[in-house]
Point group: C2
Chain length 399, copies 2
């Protein structure tokens, strides 16, 4: 008799965005004349830049001509794209070779599927509040999960505790949902901690393009020793508006090794390559062309203009919170603003207040973990005009 | 200490295509003047049809305009594509509703990732010779695998044996590598067998578009009772030349249920949806536009012309084998021709003979399993001119 993977019963149903959608729907049905502004969901709103669209269309055209048609892509991605990513790393001072880069259909797929190569006995450390994928994918494969607290006291940047033992460590910096970004010194502590116990850091750099502060590394590989203890996941979703176009990349240094129980040593890159060769068939050629266009001088210029647009929104939101005396993290090296609900309000109460009184939708921090209660996430990915209007409305609120 | 998933040590390194590449390279280096014709790898050679290219480019253009830009796609795929696939099934008499269809970046991803939702204790039945992904993905997750023999005697169409117990059954029809296609009566026996022991059939229909014989179903769901015991995987790779464009779909009927160990019952569709929502973020919008264009009247007409082109190649190869008195399966409802090496030759010996004497490259059957020894796969996916030339050369051989 076919039986299910019973670990699925331990995966928490994610009610967060469904519950938000439900409350917004109820409100708009009762108040059809009110204009609701959404600063909640972490999706981008600006279209793909012209350089990307042109490159993708050129890729489509090539697929329609016998001489330039492309069949099965390489599992690891086309060399032209991996070279471009390698050059991108170089532009901010990090050396990663093209044959340490594997292209995928998005960081979420890689962050989710990477668990396949690890023992089920590994203990997983995540910071709380947390992007739910780190927890859910490990719950599905039956691993024990422990938490490191990101709190107001540590600026929502959890730090390692030498007395805690773990085997896999998920870090996301700049962080989703808190917008906090680790400094080089903080990452050095994590690398030191990981190496001490032969743990592997799974580093999610999806928001690296929003970093402006030179003390905040764009990559874990800017930290000495990280090449022997870390995998980095990155994505074009937020860097270049690829949420609907789907392309990301994972960096596994050739030095990164892992043991079996008998102490034999294996290349993590080779294990991941084997996993991908077995369960994945590469990324669409026109999408890889589009992705490569992100790294040309023209593409970079256009993409950076979009990032600046979003960061202007972040500044508008931050300035209002400063004016209101509301505490927050993020908004500087991150498109997320993570604010403390005024007067000790709980996350969902603040959500209801914003929705009902000024028709602004955000994301209750409690949905991201225990330490998110009493906090609230706003995103800079909205329209300039809507963001300004939302901020004006929030300032009109009486707390 | 981070430890690897030790099941990876049990995954056989796939030397098949690497070994072919090595021998071809050695030969061409020694004989640079000889023109080698490849009828080995299962990749297509005709470009995407115009209707598909146009739709994909239109999708790209929409991504470049704010009003039509698309962010995160639905995990299950856009409704317009799922409706189109549902209509396609209807065109050959099978009722599958759009909300039983999940779009993905290719059948290989789904066939590979589906193992996530099943218990590791399930016993897996595969037919031998076999597409290696069924074996490797289950080896990686530590499942016991047993084999049903596809042999010359049963026309390389293994049938169930009631004395054999199993929980998951992989069937591929028309088959890769043997080209054999199950009749409706044969599939009815498999469905009966599966239902008797509450097993689930994982049905790979990647080559369904090559079926011309009305006794051969295009879908497992043409068989009564299959909706309660089967999942179907399909792909546009061979149907529409999407090997480099990447799009497929998986059908899970709403009736299909699975138990946990306590006898509680769960929807397989919901488990798979949950898996995809956690580890996947949907398919690129322009690619979904391209896929939908395959199912329009114009798209269908253009795609069917390409399939006819390949099947003309199959006829040319089959006619030559008939003339030479060489036994084979496939070539009728399949782009693969699976031939018995003449005079009791072994697969690799025949490979070397073809390469060295007439510079034609095929795939040794021994690479697909024990029952493949002494057999050899040719594909119809080549050029018309090259296929004719290869056949002429094979006919010149002395056996």
């Amino acid at each position: 008799m076919a039986l299910m993977n019973e670990n699925f019963n331990d995966v928490k149903q994610s009610y967060l965005f469904a519950e938000i959608a439900k409350r917004v729907k109820e409100y708009t049905e009762k108040n059809p004349d009110k204009k609701v502004i959404r600063l909640g969901i972490g999706d981008v709103t600006l279209p793909l830049v012209p350089a990307v669209v042109e490159a993708m269309k050129k890729g489509c055209d090539e697929m329609g001509v016998k001489e330039t048609f492309k069949g099965y892509p390489d599992y690891e991605g086309y060399a032209f794209l991996r070279e471009a990513v390698s050059g991108y790393y170089k532009s901010f001072g990090v050396e990663v070779s093209a044959d340490e880069i594997m292209i995928s259909d998005g960081a979420k797929s890689d962050v989710g599927n990477i668990v396949d190569i690890f023992s089920q006995d590994n203990v997983v450390l995540v910071t709380d509040p947390v992007y739910p994928v780190y927890v859910d994918t490990n719950t599905m494969s039956g691993r024990k999960i422990i938490f490191a607290d990101s709190t107001e006291e540590n600026g929502f940047a959890a730090m390692p505790d030498d007395s805690v033992k773990c085997d896999l460590i998920y870090l996301c910096s700049p962080n989703n949902p808190t917008g906090a970004a680790y400094t080089k010194e903080q990452l050095e502590q994590w690398v030191k901690y990981a190496k001490k116990q032969n743990a592997i850091i799974l580093y999610d750099a999806a928001y690296e393009a929003y970093i402006s502060d030179s003390s905040v590394p764009r990559s874990i590989f800017a930290v000495e020793g990280a090449r022997e203890c870390a995998i980095e996941f990155c994505s074009l979703s937020k860097t270049a508006g690829f949420t609907g176009t789907r392309c990301g990349y994972t960096v596994i240094p050739k030095e990164l090794m892992i043991n079996d129980k008998n102490g034999n040593t294996y290349s993590v890159y080779k294990l991941w390559y084997r996993r991908q060769a077995t369960k994945f068939n590469g990324v669409s050629y026109p999408v890889q062309c589009a992705a490569a266009a992100c790294f040309t001088p023209e593409g970079q210029k256009q993409i950076k203009a979009n990032i600046a647009y979003y960061m202007d929104n972040a500044k508008v939101i931050s300035a209002a919170l400063d004016e209101l005396g509301i505490k927050y993290t993020g908004g500087k090296n991150s498109p997320y603003i993570w604010l403390k609900c005024p007067n000790g309000m709980k996350s969902w109460d603040f959500f209801d207040k914003l929705l009902n009184e000024v028709q602004v939708v955000g994301t209750p921090g409690a949905g991201f973990g225990v330490n998110g209660e009493g906090w609230f996430r706003l995103t800079a990915f909205g329209d300039k005009e809507n963001t300004a209007e939302a901020v004006k409305r929030i300032k009109s609120l009486k707390f």
